[in-house]
């Protein structure tokens, strides 16, 4: 499974264009994001609020479709791509 972080998040993963995540045990987008912050702990307090929900300031897409954290990924995350975008409007 691939995860792409845009914009203000990119610097926290050393500007890697894509992150590869092993899909074992990952059933939902939320599972994938929690696995991501295990590899990149600095992202934990940035992506998640204190109740461990994705902050309102971020949008998640799975294979180009906007989803929420409960969205199911493919078995093993094979071929899936999760994008995390900032949700604000304007420039």
């Amino acid at each position: 499974m691939k995860i792409k972080l845009s914009g203000n998040l990119a610097r926290f993963v050393n500007y890697k264009k894509e992150l590869q995540l092993e899909g074992d045990g990952i059933q939902t987008v939320g599972d994938a994001l929690h696995a991501l912050v295990v590899s990149y702990p600095v992202l934990k307090d940035i992506i998640f609020d204190k109740d461990r929900n994705v902050k309102k300031g971020y949008l998640i897409s799975l294979n180009g479709e906007k989803v929420d954290a409960a969205a199911q990924v493919s078995k093993g995350g094979e071929g899936d791509c999760i994008d995390i975008f900032t949700a604000i409007a304007g420039g």
Partner: protein, 277 residues
């Protein structure tokens, strides 16, 4: 009470100008700087202070640049950029700031910018959600500087008028990547770069023409009268974009309408610009 205004003087120098007038991005950058001179003077709030003390940010959502009088590099030795009006609008969710550019006692250009307020989460990434001004920050404004009514969006009427009555002369697509020299501190596009993306696409269109029955190349020899801008979504470092430019003639005047799409973000419409010659 007298309106709280501020005026900042600058020397005239060549980098601020094209052949016929101020670059729009020069005026927008200097206007933004004057906005924070105003903030420091009247609110005792700097830009970093707004973020650190009030956990508040902002993004541009609309702007107009109006060239009021002919003014080029040899017209004067100095000019000033003012904040003539600073209002908290639209249910305390938008800053609207009017800047006047003056030289030799006359107004040569106007810049009006609307900034959507953001509430920051306080994390290192400056994660934010659209919001309203926090009460402690709002207290620093005078009652007459707070106007709850909705802001105007003049671009929409201009665009509708062009589509309905204008004669479409040419279309063009200009692809770009957002590099850091066009970004602000959070690696998001700097608001004053939007007119440069629009003019780049217009000049690329003109450069691509084999024939020019609409005499679009003539725009290179003209001063702009107005630029209307709206921002719709963020654009970040290394994201890919496409400017779709349409040239129109309407009542013997040239107009260029530019729609900027963020290709990285599923082709989302990121901004619209209209240049009126």
């Amino acid at each position: 009470m007298q309106a709280r205004t501020i005026k900042v003087s600058h020397p005239v120098e060549s980098m601020l100008f094209g052949p016929f007038q101020f670059h729009a991005h020069s005026l927008m950058l200097l206007s933004f700087s004057s906005m924070w001179s105003w903030g420091s003077t009247y609110l005792s709030v700097s830009f970093p202070g707004m973020i650190k003390e009030y956990h508040q940010g902002m993004v541009a959502v609309g702007a107009e640049v109006e060239y009021v009088e002919p003014f080029e590099m040899f017209s004067a030795d100095e000019f000033s950029v003012s904040v003539d009006e600073f209002k908290v609008r639209q249910g305390n969710s938008v800053f609207q700031v009017l800047h006047l550019i003056r030289a030799q006692g006359i107004v040569v250009a106007r810049v009006k910018v609307r900034w959507k307020l953001l509430e920051l989460d306080g994390d290192e990434a400056l994660s934010a959600t659209p919001g309203v001004i926090r009460p402690a920050f709002l207290q620093k404004f005078l009652p007459e500087e707070v106007d709850p009514s909705r802001v105007e969006r003049p671009l929409l009427a201009q665009l509708e008028n062009l589509k309905e009555h204008g004669q479409l002369c040419a279309e063009f697509e200009h692809d770009f990547t957002l590099f850091r020299h066009r970004c602000e501190v959070a690696d998001q596009w700097a608001f004053f770069e939007l007119p440069t993306l629009a003019s780049e696409s217009r000049e690329s269109l003109i450069d691509s023409l084999q024939e020019d029955p609409g005499e679009l190349a003539s725009s290179l020899g003209l001063a702009l009268n107005n630029i209307y801008m709206e921002w719709r979504c963020p654009f970040y470092l290394l994201e890919k974009g496409r400017v779709k430019t349409q040239a129109y003639r309407l009542q013997d005047k040239l107009y260029f309408a530019h729609h900027v799409f963020n290709l990285t973000r599923a082709n989302t419409l990121a901004a619209i610009v209209i240049e009126a010659f």
